[in-house]
């Protein structure tokens, strides 16, 4: 029987998957109590065993090191949990993946803004709600004739999916939202009340009132204290630590809470970025008044300062939702309108490619600084997450080509699957 030590911060629903599995299989797992998030997992000793530096991570007493919660759970599981036949094992795997792909991303998009971990984006939240609704409908129909997901006994499938739903059931699935999913509710409450679950999760209270975006909390966590953000290692890490961080931040600076919003208004988001000699206004004039390829492009490459500026490429993440090209164009227009102040030290050209019912958006931007400029101000964050952003190497030939295509609005846009230029919008 497997035994060993699990590294995690308290209340980590991913670690629950493994701990509950151990409760069922009888594997002896101890949680490392000396673990400190942001310290232990950044130590070279830890990184040597778990190069990602993420938790949960498991070190067996025989020296085996396993990371990724589902893998740890597998390591600790028994035949009953993992499926007795190949078919059952496949089904268990199927539901684990269902939880990871269909539930977890949407649930995080929806819940994290409520905890102040990420910025609120109405579009994304609405979309996430829809996705959750869809996943729950599938589960609900499936569980109509079944007590558990695979076979007639609790398996890893139930453990994993229930853990993936924990956050949602705790914060946002209020009685009216979950009301119609009777079978899922029955299944979920039965699970969380099993002694093996209770031992790990404790007493769980189902959501009474849907939590909403907490701007104060968000400001508290993100406003001003950029340094802390860096210490924690950026966004990825925060995802792994949904509950602990709000608490920590609260303890440290309870007084900052009220002053925060005021400060932000008169602060220039660009203040922290290195100054650059590139004259954005001059370039914009040049671009507007001259032909692009013979005049504006050479001007751009001549003046471009790669030490203080960066070029970025963006591609719309959800092209399958775009219908008519003029609507796509309006979408881009709306985005550009919402980006006041960014204008000062940024320029972008967005192209709608393709035709009605088969189109997408691709753009090239450049601005001061080397990081994604949208993160400088919460006011700029409404749309940018709908795009995939990649930084371009200013010295590469391919970059020259992409920039040329997007600034001149012509070319064959080879990397966009042969879609041709339809309309364009310039942010200047």
């Amino acid at each position: 029987m497997a035994s060993g030590k699990l590294y995690t911060y308290p209340g980590n629903f991913r670690a629950f998957k493994a701990l509950i599995a151990a409760e069922y299989s009888g594997a002896k797992v101890t949680v490392d109590t000396s673990f400190k998030f942001g310290e232990t997992n950044k130590s070279s000793d830890f990184l040597a065993k778990f190069p990602l530096g993420k938790v949960p991570a498991f070190e067996a007493s025989n020296g085996d090191c396993v990371f990724e919660s589902n893998a740890i759970a597998y390591y600790l599981g028994n035949e009953q949990l993992l499926g007795k036949t190949q078919t059952d094992s496949a089904r268990v795997q199927q539901w684990i993946n269902f939880g990871d792909n269909e539930i977890l991303p949407a649930s995080c998009t929806w819940v994290f803004p409520c905890l102040g971990i990420t910025q609120f984006n109405k579009q994304d939240t609405e979309k996430a709600k829809e996705l959750i609704q869809k996943a729950l409908t599938v589960l609900n129909n499936y569980l109509k004739t079944r007590t558990y997901l695979v076979g007639e006994r609790i398996t890893q499938a139930d453990i994993a999916v229930a853990c993936d739903l924990l956050l949602a059931y705790q914060y946002v699935l209020d009685p009216s939202f979950r009301g119609s999913f009777v079978n899922v509710n029955r299944w979920f409450t039965t699970l969380i009340n099993q002694p093996q679950f209770k031992k790990v999760i404790g007493d769980f209270k189902l959501c009474e009132k849907m939590a909403a975006f907490d701007a104060k909390k968000y400001a508290e966590l993100h406003g001003g204290d950029k340094k802390k953000k860096d210490d924690k290692g950026g966004k990825q890490q925060k995802k792994e630590q949904p509950k602990q961080q709000p608490k920590q931040a609260k303890k440290e600076e309870p007084a900052a809470e009220e002053e925060e919003p005021k400060k932000k208004d008169d602060k220039d988001p660009w203040a922290k970025i290195v100054k650059s000699d590139f004259d954005f206004d001059a370039f914009k004039r040049c671009y507007s008044n001259n032909d692009t390829i013979p005049v504006a492009l050479p001007y751009f490459w001549e003046k471009f300062d790669k030490n203080t500026m960066s070029i970025w490429r963006c591609v719309y993440k959800y092209p399958e939702e775009l219908k008519l090209t003029f609507m796509t164009s309006n979408l881009v227009g709306g985005m550009l309108q919402r980006l006041e102040k960014l204008r000062k030290f940024a320029f972008g050209s967005m192209c709608v490619l393709g035709e009605n019912n088969d189109n997408t958006i691709s753009g090239v931007w450049f601005w001061r600084g080397h990081d994604l400029a949208f993160e400088l101000s919460p006011d700029w964050q409404i749309d940018f997450e709908s795009y995939e952003w990649t930084k371009l190497d200013p010295d590469a030939e391919s970059t020259k080509e992409v920039v040329k295509e997007h600034f001149a609005w012509e070319g064959d846009f080879k990397d966009m699957g042969g879609k041709t230029f339809n309309t364009g919008k310039v942010y200047k």
Partner: protein, 174 residues
């Protein structure tokens, strides 16, 4: 429907305790169990005695509220299920149980209790005779029953009853 005596026998086998022969008293056919420690009379009394003898008190309920629910359903069994004569009555009972189970896995809380055992053995023959159409009609009851019979110690020597997990009939069946 299984006789009261058979139900008691099955439960004592599940609990691993001996109950001896069950006789019936009077025109109401009240079950009587004669043991070394005395005579017990009545379905509920006998079952609770057996559970205590097996040291499985949690089957009877862990607090007053749970105990009341157990009593309620054992009484329901004696007063309603046992007195079902016509098919119409049985259907009414099945319908009630089905509704009760629509949001539950077990009758009491989140584990198997004396209620589940008593009703499983009592209803076994009735459910065995149900058509697939009826099984779909009593969807929640079927789901509960199917989950119960997976345990060998509960099912004992009786046959598996087949349930369909896919919906066979469309329309008003559920």
């Amino acid at each position: 429907m299984a006789t009261t005596g058979d139900t008691i026998q099955s439960i004592s086998a599940y609990l691993g305790v001996k109950c001896g022969k069950i006789t019936y008293d009077g025109p109401e056919k009240i079950p009587v169990m004669k043991g070394k420690t005395g005579t017990r009379k009545g379905f509920t009394t006998i079952l609770k005695h057996l559970a205590r003898a097996a040291e499985k008190q949690n089957l009877i309920g862990e607090n007053l509220g749970e105990k009341a629910v157990v009593d309620q359903w054992l009484e329901f069994k004696t007063c309603y299920i046992d007195r079902c004569g016509a098919e119409k009555d049985t259907n009414q009972i099945l319908k009630e149980l089905n509704t009760y189970l629509s949001d539950k896995v077990y009758f009491l809380s989140h584990r198997v209790s004396l209620i589940d055992l008593a009703l499983y053995y009592t209803l076994y023959t009735t459910i065995k005779e149900l058509t697939f159409y009826d099984k779909q009609k009593y969807l929640h009851l079927s789901r509960w029953f199917n989950n119960m019979q997976q345990s060998n110690s509960i099912r004992q020597s009786s046959l598996y009853i087949t349930f369909s997990k896919t919906q066979l009939y469309s329309g008003s069946a559920h």
